[in-house]
Amino acid sequence: MSGRPAGGVEHPEQLRSYFKMEWAPLTLVTVSGLLYNAGLTAGPYFEGQMAQRLFDILKGARAPASMAPLAGMYLLTILVVQAMRSVKRFYVRRFANDTARAMRRMLYNSLVHKSRAQLRRESVGAVMTRAVSDVDACAEGMRKFTTEVFDTGVALAAYLTMLFVYDWRLALLSCMFTPAAYLIASHLKTTVTRYGAAYKKSAGELSDATLDRVAGALTYRVYGREPDRDRAYEARLSDYERKAAAANLWENTMQPIYNFISLAGVVPLIWLGAKNVLGTGWKTWDIAAFTTFLACFIKLAAKSSSAAKLFNAVQRAQVSWSRIRPFMQPYEEPDTATELDFAHPGTLRVSHLSFAYPGGPEILRDVSFAVRPGEIAGVTGPVASGKSTLGRVFLCESPYRGNVRIGERELSSLSEYERSRLVSYLGHQPELMSDTLAENIRLGKSGDIAPYLRAACLEREAAEMPDGADTFAGSGGIRLSGGQQARTALCRTLYNAGAVLVLDDPFSAVDRGTARELLQNLRELSKDRAVLLISHRLELFPLLDQVLWMENGSCTASTHGELLEKNPAYARLFRAQEGGAERETKN
């Protein structure tokens, strides 16, 4: 049961599936659990027999040496029973461990296949708590449930049988209090659940507050707000303390009370049992029968009180499960089937493209242009002209109207895999991971990154880092400067580049000289690629093969020279920046 399973859990939204998946450890648990619990009565039985034998020996009815074989039998039985117990314990834990792992995998699979828009609706802290603590609580609940099925269910049956064999009337009489304990336990379970849920909720809030306090520490510091936030955090802590105490109170204190009720049967037992021994009761008992019966009864009472524990464990698992379940979806397998020839993708042709976000106004209107492999097209326009939206259309996060074709294939008809191979998008956020610089570029692929580091003008800086490109970049790349982060993201896009490159403002955080160098490198790497370069910095646009001028969602496909002549808005924008450049060089 180790290693990564081929797929996911079938019907992950049903708890039953996880039991089914774990049939092998559960079978072992069942066999060892049955044997162990059946053997549980052996302890009291042999201890009673030994007390009786001692009585006989002290009376002189038996030889002292007759104790040894009996004691040997006793030990042998206990050894087998406890061996069974350790098997049961281990496999029931493995079952929980497997289940937690499977649930985490399913949760993560569903998470990583959600779109950005869907994830934005989730609170990060809440998802985190769900993924980590709920899975543990749920698997733990399932483990306890499985454990208690044997430790309570089977053991109860075994003890009861024993009692009925010795004296059925006395058994009935002494056990009549137990159902009352059950009744109360089942009545109180809603209360237990309610307090448990309030506690969980407070825990989630505390976790969110902690994440905010830590992640926002520097923001709060710069504004001198740390003392206020600490006070707010303190209030969260007090709330959590109260709810945790209440939930634990309900969960832990009920058991001794159930135990108390179940134990009441011991009074008639001792009274009437003594009569049995003295020969004036319903049955004729010896001392062995009396002590065995009493020991079994006390163990029975203790067991039946843990029936409440069973309810609680199941309740807690249900609370956790109810919050995990909405995220449990059929496992999504990677689908890399394709008939496309990625080596010869063909020209990018956009025709009559219109686009609006769901429920929003139209942002792109009848956009048409074509970019051949080896060409770099600059996209620019005034603020809110739709240039970034044009770039994001290629992600196919929302449907578009019109056509976006790469070669003969319509973009929207491609699978996500095919699209990822054909189109490489670079957005505003660097979206780096807590890993090394190199791994942030490779993303699991193998191959030499040096040419791409050079292309992204990162080579020198990477070499100066403590471990070169294998230097840890920090969480979200935080150990890199803003400019380094942006160029790492660019480098990643170049390394994983498909036939069409869509780069939204890749030069925003670099100076003019670096931008020029980057463009040159980009051209060399894109001899067979169509590149869309979205930018509001025009200084490099004279070097581009064509320029797409966006205005109010419409697009004019042209060249720098032509636009400079015919489009006054473009000309104005270009000249203003050119002036700035001159002044910059003077400084």
Binding site: R93, V112, M128, L211, I257, S420, V423, S434, S481
Partner: protein
């Protein structure tokens, strides 16, 4: 010229009180004396009451062997004692829970207080997910450590001692047998402990990494999907949980075999007692009733011993968490700002001038980021920092914000060392518009005030008006009291919120970092307009990475050194 940091270090040579888990616990215990006393009383009651029932049983059995009927009184007493010890145990459990909560509360408070004293470098060097995990997961294990560890162990220890005493009185031979076998059991327990500690440590680390992977996935989801790296991300996650799985498996094995071994040993002792008692040896001479009682006692000794085994596991698993919490509490602290500096005093003594004098700074030791940076921003002046990527423009800002102290030269605001200005005064001196706006949990108004009681509704409104956000905020369901959520605002509106936040306390200095770099929406014009309004009558320091057209009276300062600013 010596920097602020060197001079302060001498002034602060007096050792500050270092907190540790132990000191927090000590404080909690002394703060809640009644609870502690009650807890001890409950444990004592539960232990004593637990000792009595077998004695009653002995009497009953001895009467039976003598052919006499059990007394009704004895039966009732037996039940009463069983019931009372159960109730005391319940009370003990409640008290332990409450006690554990008090400790975790105190610990989290102490850790939260520590955050404030940590240097800025700590936050850039540590993932917020794993720091959060110290607060959440590691402190939870400390709770387990107390409730199901130390306190439980104390109670069980008392129980064992009580039982041993009674057993010695009943049968010296059995007492000796037990005393002989206990060290053996203890040795075995230690062996298990050490094995489990290693596994637990591995597991916790894997759990923290897995926990950090989830928010990271959420943040980077667009990149992941567009490169079709879902499987890659799953494999990484799998790697983390697999590590945890293997470690858990190891500790589960120890956990599974420990208790059965202990029970078997206890049975061996019972068997030995019976054989010796049958042989009639002096030390083992006893009545049948005593034999029954003693059997019950032996089972009772190993019960708490078995729990101690479990408690040891809990303590072991918490040990890793405790170590990390202590490490966190021992983290080197930042130099305390000078409480005598107040914004009022500074502004009264000097105009809103910002000065860099031959500033040198590097994050590590090897790569200085800033070298000999000197410039002054005069009151009311706008200065733009330009320079090659990685030249240290953002670093200059961090020095100015007092997040780091320069290693050479001085960075002063109104004549005072930037790093010496208390946090609480900073907002009255400067506002910061960072690259990314950080949304805080709270209302829309809180985004602007940042929970500052000194920034009232009137100031919030004025700041929003200046940023051109007032109308958009009023259009929200509950206006300024609407709970803030990311999707309420466009990228541009977040920039406007950042501007409103920066000017809310009406500081004389404004710091702008890369203001339009990420902006590509219809509000850019509004952002520029808001910036213009915000800059009016203020000393403005701005970072620009691109060519810009400086307005008349605006100065460009080139920041640059040959080194990169990898930090």
């Amino acid at each position: 010229m010596r920097g602020f940091s060197a001079r302060r270090r001498e002034a602060l040579s007096v050792k500050r009180k270092t907190e540790s888990l132990a000191s927090v616990v000590k404080e909690t215990v002394s703060e809640h004396r009644t609870l502690t006393a009650g807890l001890i009383a409950l444990i004592a009651g539960a232990v004593t009451l637990g000792l009595l029932p077998p004695l009653v049983l002995e009497r009953i059995v001895d009467r039976l062997t003598a052919g006499k009927q059990a007394e009704g009184r004895a039966a009732l007493l037996y039940f009463g004692l069983l019931a009372a010890s159960g109730l005391f145990e319940a009370g003990q459990n409640v008290a332990i829970t409450v006690f554990g909560q008090k400790i975790t509360h105190g610990l989290r408070s102490a850790m939260c207080g520590k955050l404030r004293r940590l240097p800025a470098a700590y936050f850039t060097g540590h993932e917020s997910g794993s720091v959060t995990s110290r607060f959440v997961n590691d402190v939870d294990t400390v709770d387990t450590l107390f409730t199901e560890g130390i306190v439980g162990m104390f109670a069980d220890g008392c129980r064992v001692i009580g039982l041993l005493t009674v057993i010695f009185v009943k049968s010296a031979g059995l007492g000796l047998l037990l005393l002989a076998s206990l060290p053996l059991l203890f040795w075995m327990t230690r062996a298990f402990q050490q094995k489990m500690l290693r596994a637990q440590l591995q597991n916790r680390e894997a759990v923290a990494r897995a926990a950090n992977h989830v928010p990271e996935t959420i943040r980077n989801i667009r990149m992941i999907r567009s490169f079709y790296r879902q499987s890659y991300m799953e494999e990484r996650y799998d790697g983390y949980i697999q590590e945890g799985y293997r470690a858990t498996e190891k500790s589960n094995f120890c956990d599974s075999v420990y208790s059965p071994i202990v029970i078997f040993v206890s049975s061996c002792i019972v068997a030995a007692v019976m054989v010796f008692a049958a042989a009639g040896g002096g030390l083992f001479r006893m009545s049948v009733g005593a034999a029954v009682a003693v059997t019950a006692y032996v089972a009772k000794v190993f019960g708490p011993l078995e729990s101690i085994g479990m408690e040891i596991q809990n303590i072991q698993s918490a040990a890793a968490g405790v170590r990390r919490i202590d490490e966190f509490l021992r983290e080197e602290e930042r130099e305390e700002p000078d409480p005598a500096l107040t914004a009022e005093k500074l502004l009264a003594d000097s105009p809103a001038r910002v000065e860099f004098q031959q500033v040198e700074f590097g994050y590590g030791t090897d790569h200085p980021v800033l070298r000999d940076l000197t410039f002054t921003a005069q009151p009311g002046e706008t200065v733009i920092l330009t320079g090659r990527t990685g030249a240290g423009k953002s670093t200059a800002f961090r020095l100015l914000l007092g997040l780091y102290a320069p290693s050479g030269g001085r960075v002063t605001v109104c004549g005072a060392d930037a790093a010496a200005i208390p946090d609480g005064e900073k907002r009255k001196l400067f506002g910061v518009v960072p690259q990314d706006f950080r949304l805080v949990p709270g209302t829309v108004g809180d985004q602007i005030s940042l929970f500052d009681p000194a920034v009232g509704p009137e100031q919030i409104r004025r700041a929003a008006e200046l940023a051109g956000l007032h109308e958009s905020i009023l259009a929200l369901p509950r206006g300024y009291d609407t709970p803030a959520a990311r999707e309420l605002f466009s990228q541009g509106q977040l920039q406007l919120l950042a501007i409103a936040r920066a000017v809310a306390a009406d500081p004389p200095i404004l710091l702008l970092d890369e203001i339009t770099a990420n902006l590509d929406s219809g509000t850019e014009r509004r952002v520029l307009r808001a910036l213009e309004l915000a800059s009016r009558d203020r000393t403005v320091l701005s970072i620009s990475h691109r060519a810009c057209v400086p307005a008349p009276g605006v100065r460009l300062i080139a920041v640059g050194s040959r080194q990169s600013d990898f930090c």
